[in-house]
Amino acid sequence: MRDFLGLTPDPDRGWALAALTGALSFPAAKPGAIRAAVEARMDATLFAWSYDYVGDLAETVALVWPAAPGPNRAPDLSEVVETLSRSSRTQAQNRIETWLDALDPTGRWALLKLITGGLRVGLSARLAKQAAADLGGVPVSDLEEIWHAQSPPYEALFAWLVGGAEKPATAAPGRFRPVMLAHALDEQTDFVKLDPADYAAEWKWDGIRVQAVSEGGERRLYSRTGDLISGSFPDLLTALDFEGVIDGELLILRDGAAASFGELQQRLNRKTADAGMIAARPAGLRAYDLLMDGSEDVRALPFAERRARLERLITGRGGGRIDLSPLVDFSSWDELAELRTDPPPGDALMAEGFMLKRWDSTYLAGRPKGPWFKWKRDPYLTDAVLMYAQRGHGRRSSFYSDFTFGVWREDDAGRRALTPVGKAYFGFTDEELKALDAYVRDHTVARFGPVRQVQAEDGEGLVLEVAFEGLQRSSRHKSGLAMRFPRIHRIRWDKPASEADDLSSLERLLSR
């Protein structure tokens, strides 16, 4: 991608970057119009059957498009973007049709994905920004800092990255500042070198890290990678009644108490929020750092000073939706370790562990080693029985490498039976994978496409010690719960399947 951005001229590379980061939208070209265009050219029933089979609108249209012959010419990217952004719906539709006539199926697929916004998949935005930063040999945090002041096709940005021009100005109010990240603490090597008196400790909350910006009337919420997420949390946006930039955790806060990550997930899955959702799951901000105090940049001040200013800034603000992440008193690492395994009642029970921040640390973009550590709680462990295995992908495609495991519970007839509780596809070595794969092949009792059902009963079954980060109630799973980040911790070749855990032991965790 970096090569592509380097070799492609302006403005095409800028439009490509915009498409990958989700910065493009074409109100004049909507999926409905594309469907209408194809149905005007072919039998609607044949199209419907095709769509049924393929399952993706852009791909179906790309494949079935009955191209009309003519002096058609494949468009370049900027022609598409510029034409669509100044066309009426009718004009847009005509142009799209002539482009589809001129392109081959792959080109048609790319065009349709571009105009329906489907190119932006998963990590692509982050990777695209990383590629652009690599092209200019600058840290991605430098690019993120100015990103929101730029707009497609990003000519000033590329002029800076590869043209030797000045870095574009960042003065725009409401912009994103790159965040400071923590290193994972290594208990063996780090504690001996660290003096507890140098560090402040906070609970590590199980929400999402956000940057809440309120500057000169501009209010915005950014994810830690600089994606704008204001749209999903209008309730929190209205509560940002301070002047400055706060680093904190977005949580569902009900009467000051944090709800589980699962509840937050419900809101993250939606691009907008309706009143019912907001009332049921109100968003809140648990503040832990300050980047801008009013119009003053405080990132170069020590943490102790920023923290004091943060407390002053948010006192009496936020209408109950903003609170302060409390500091935890401790005098030795042992004392903190005890708190970590046995947290006090309240929200701390749901924390993922501790954040340790040097009192004198300035706020630096990226992940500097030393000033900040995260010290996660040890994972939960459970002994489960392997039930199903599925083939992996890519270089693992010849192995059964995705494992569904279950624990015991009593079924309706009072018999002890396994119920699936999760799926894991990592945590094992290559050697262990080979052994697991051989086990699956030797103990298959049924096949469903790429999935094999493995012998799993009282007398015969393979016990997997599964590590996971947390449990949530889930109506989608038969067992009624869902695991966070499950992975295979150990294979218990030695343990009889009948001695694996019961569902009740997991349910106890849930109620804690």
């Binding site: 029933t45 044949l46 095709s50 089979y53 393929v54 495609s397 010849s398």
Partner: protein, 335 residues
């Protein structure tokens, strides 16, 4: 005038010709069978008398052993035999080596059973011969407008540029043992790939059989003989089923490719964990199916297997009487 339904009738064992008293590609053992081509779902063992082209008979013998049928009758393309006024002959279908359409003429009426067919050029078999007919009995494996195969040469060029791009990896190409594998090899040779090609043991018999019938495949070596050797930048051929077995693990970090018409649809490629989908098919795509019907302009179209409803709908829109025969036992995945 006689009704075509009384000349050819779908029965549980397959399509039956009453005047000639034989079945075409029966899926159960019968007394007399005419076999269109050697794919396992069309050519089954255990029939009494079998008529087919010499390559098809040789393929059946290679697959099932010398006693795969009570007696055999080799037929050259164009050669005919008659029985009770029904004249039967075979015409090239362009699907795989020896593949044939079955042409039945009875009391002035011509019925053509295409078997599996394609219209694209294929260096390993004789091209489809269009024969004017009253009833065209067609397959419809790729009978949906989404299936439009690109030129096979372009797909082979994709394979070669992948080898050039990843010279340190082995390119493991899944291709069906009968027809597809030999076509991919022949296309590679035509594109200038002269290297020895390691092949999975399951392909050896059929490769030799193709060579015996005059299809040159160039230097091939058993993949088993390459163990311990450096296979960087090498193209290896194997049946698709072998790609997901421990056999495939002998290759370090292979690029997995799969030559099949199903690769046209991204989800199908993803489902099989294919990194390099090669859209190469030995079946007619949508344009070939509809183009052939338009070219032959038969009085009626019957559809044996595949996506019958979509092709029947197209015929209806074109005003051509069509009926799906709903024959069972033909494996749509075989391509």
């Amino acid at each position: 005038m006689i009704r075509p339904q009384s000349v050819l009738t779908p029965r549980p064992a397959g399509l039956y010709c009453e005047p000639g008293d034989f079945y075409i590609d029966p899926v159960r053992p019968v007394d007399r069978a005419v076999i269109t081509h050697g794919h396992a779902d069309h050519a089954r063992p255990g029939h009494g008398a079998v008529a087919a082209t010499a390559p098809t008979l040789a393929i059946m013998e290679a697959r099932y052993g010398a006693d795969f049928a009570g007696s055999v009758q080799p037929l050259a393309y164009g050669e005919s035999w008659s029985r009770d006024g029904a004249e039967v002959s075979l015409a090239p279908a362009g699907h795989v080596l020896g593949s044939a359409q079955v042409v039945v003429r009875y009391r002035g009426m011509t019925l053509v059973v295409s078997g599996d067919y394609k219209r694209r050029p294929d260096p390993t078999c004789a091209p489809f011969d269009p024969i004017a007919c009253d009833v065209f009995v067609t397959e419809a494996t790729f009978g949906l407008p989404v299936f439009r195969h690109p030129p096979a040469q372009e797909e082979v060029a994709k394979l070669l540029s992948c080898v050039a791009q990843f010279p340190e990896r082995t390119c493991l190409v899944g291709a069906y043992a009968l027809g597809k594998a030999q076509r991919v090899i022949a296309l590679l040779r035509a594109a200038g790939w002269d290297e020895p090609i390691p092949v999975h043991g399951a392909l050896t018999r059929l490769n030799e059989l193709y060579e015996d019938f005059g299809v040159a495949l160039g230097p091939l070596v058993p993949a088993a003989a390459t163990s311990g050797k450096d296979l960087s930048g090498v193209i290896v051929l194997a049946p698709p089923s072998a790609l997901a077995t421990p056999w495939a693990r002998r290759f370090a970090d292979p690029v997995s490719a799969f030559a099949s018409g199903w690769m046209r649809v991204r989800a199908r490629a993803r489902q099989r964990a294919v990194e390099l989908p090669l859209i190469i098919s030995d079946h007619a795509d949508w344009d070939e199916l509809t183009g052939t019907i338009a070219e032959l302009a038969p009085g009626e179209v019957w559809i044996t297997h595949g996506r019958e409803e979509a092709l029947a709908r197209w015929c209806a829109l074109e005003g051509i009487p069509a009926r799906p025969l709903a024959l069972v036992g033909y494996d749509e995945e075989e391509d």
